[in-house]
């Protein structure tokens, strides 16, 4: 880098101003016409299909009584405050559990990717953990944690939502750790070599170079696990925590009407929708970035 040489400046992109040819304009017009037609056709078929389903369901002999027990507006309004309050508990549990899952998941994944014989016991432990908690039904983990651990008498009395959160973290961190591990292993080893050769330590390389790339590779899978956990927070109701599901149960037992359950269910869907859309968007963006030949 001799100072006497004038720097050759290379520019980032060439700006070309061009108007499309008649041929290209014709092709674009054709594509616009045919895509408009496709949209109309699929829209029409969707409407017809929905109408048929509606007519069929409403026409079933039991519809009236089903409507009364599952879709009663009065019961819905009456149940609303309590169910919403319960949902607020679900949201809080979800937030805390997500943070817990992120921390424990990253730790587990990091431990599982440690190299060297001295870490063998640690790796084995982490592997056993993920095997157990991925295999065990969440419901059983909830019972074991929620009723087992307090029974030991070791801990101060904790509300049931606390133990529910612990159970969620135990189960979901096992899933997330496996997803992250796959992501870490998908990062090329030469990246680690480059990071270490700069003088970055093991942890710094993981944090600054390996994990960010790993996360990008597995974002859709992680979001999927998050959606799954969003609805599974409803299971803490089995421990007696008054969340949206438990609130609906209470309302139902008072009115002998299942509308509160439908309400809670719809609220859970509404809660999950943004995440689901975000996942779709992220997946699409990733595909766009990585896939040349975007037509196929």
């Amino acid at each position: 880098m001799s100072p006497h040489r004038p720097p050759v400046t290379e520019t980032n992109s060439a700006v070309v101003d061009r108007t499309p040819s008649a041929l290209e304009l014709e092709r674009r017009a054709f594509r616009a016409r045919s895509s408009r037609r496709s949209v109309l056709i699929s829209l029409a078929s969707t409407v017809v299909f929905a109408a048929l389903v509606a007519v069929f369901v409403v026409g079933t002999p039991g519809w009236r009584s089903v409507q009364e027990t599952f879709f009663d507006p009065e019961v819905l309004v009456a149940a609303w405050p309590r169910v919403i309050e319960g949902l607020w508990l679900n949201i809080r549990v979800l937030v805390v559990a997500s943070i817990g899952v992120a921390i424990v998941g990253v730790l587990l994944a990091s431990v599982r990717t440690l190299r060297g014989p001295i870490f063998f016991p640690l790796r084995l432990l982490a592997a056993a953990y993920t095997d157990v908690f991925r295999g065990m039904p969440l419901l059983i983990v909830l019972y074991l944690v929620g009723f087992g651990i307090p029974g030991l008498g070791l801990f101060p009395r904790m509300p049931m939502e606390f133990w529910g959160t612990v159970a969620l973290v135990l189960t979901y961190s096992a899933y997330v750790a496996e997803v992250l591990r796959a992501g870490i292993e998908a990062v090329h080893p030469s990246q680690r070599l480059a990071a270490r050769s700069l003088g970055l330590g093991y942890i710094a390389s993981l944090r600054l170079v390996i994990l960010p790339q790993a996360l990008r590779k597995v974002t859709p899978a992680l979001m999927n696990d998050f959606v799954s956990m969003q609805k599974d927070v409803g299971l803490i109701s089995v421990l007696g925590a008054v969340d949206a599901v438990r609130a609906a149960q209470i309302e139902t037992s008072a009115s002998y009407n299942f509308t509160p359950y439908v309400l809670a269910g719809l609220l859970f869907v509404a809660l999950a929708l943004p995440t689901i859309r975000l996942t779709d968007w992220l997946t699409a963006r990733q595909r766009e970035r990585e896939q040349h030949g975007s037509v196929v």
Partner: protein
């Protein structure tokens, strides 16, 4: 520990009987090599002769099986030494650039400054931009590496290796993954670095370039240094028959250093 405290007679790098084995394979069979400040040393040798392994052993990406490596007089193969701190004193450039794809060009360049050397964000960015500007790549500071050509990426990789002022630059066949028309820009940068006094140890297959730029050429064969000398001596009058055979082979393959070819690169 730092270069400035060592007296001028201390070589920057000194290898004493360095041995490296992989299982039964002896890849480095006792290497002795001294690198003084401002030297540009070209490491040549057939594929599999151990060039990359030697470079990786020097910056502790591999562990020696015998012998010592001294960096400005300090034994860096001592297991009590902080290997991360030692690696930070080398600048390493790889054949396949190995830029970090999730970081911008500037963040690639400043990563070590910020997270190894504790330089503040603004100061690191200023230093990074200055270096990028010197190699004509300042316009790409905010781009991601995949937007750059191979030659540009490799120049960024060189800048990244230089950013924290390494004592020795280790280059491992940095042009062999490049399209022929991109080799020149990278070699020119290395030439400039050598001319401005950077100590360089480079494994290379570019014989013309080695002859032109190196102050010393080292021929590695089956894990031992067969011959070393000035470029003119090695390329003009090789003494060892193995050196001669190797040079004959690469010359007939069209990558030699014919006397009238020394300005290539």
């Amino acid at each position: 520990m730092s270069a400035s405290t060592a007296d001028s007679a201390t070589p920057v790098l000194r290898l004493e009987n360095v041995v490296k084995t992989f299982g039964d394979r002896v890849v480095l069979a006792g290497i002795d090599l001294t690198v003084d400040a401002h030297e540009v040393i070209a490491l040549i040798g057939a594929s599999g002769s151990g060039k990359s392994t030697l470079l990786r052993t020097i910056n502790l990406l591999e562990q020696v099986d015998d012998g010592r490596v001294l960096l400005t007089g300090t034994d860096i193969t001592d297991p009590r030494i902080d290997a991360d701190a030692v690696r930070a004193r080398f600048g390493t450039v790889f054949q396949h650039y190995n830029l970090f794809p999730h970081l911008t060009v500037l963040d690639n360049v400043t990563l070590a400054l910020r997270h190894v050397h504790g330089v503040g964000k603004a100061a690191a960015a200023a230093r990074g931009l200055e270096l990028l500007d010197r190699v004509g790549l300042a316009d790409f500071a905010r781009s991601y590496p995949d937007r750059l050509s191979g030659g540009q990426q490799q120049r960024v990789a060189i800048v990244r290796a230089l950013a924290s002022g390494p004592e020795v630059l280790l280059l491992d066949e940095i042009t062999s993954a490049l399209d022929p028309e991109l080799v020149g820009e990278v070699l020119e940068l290395v030439r400039d670095l050598g001319a401005s006094g950077t100590t360089i140890l480079m494994a290379t297959h570019e014989m013309a370039f080695a002859r032109d730029v190196a102050t010393r050429v080292v021929f590695l064969d089956a894990g031992v240094i067969r011959e070393e000398g000035t470029p003119d001596q090695i390329f003009g009058a090789p003494r060892d028959p193995r050196t001669r055979a190797f040079l004959d082979r690469v010359t007939s393959a069209g990558r030699g250093a014919a006397p009238d070819d020394t300005t290539a690169g």
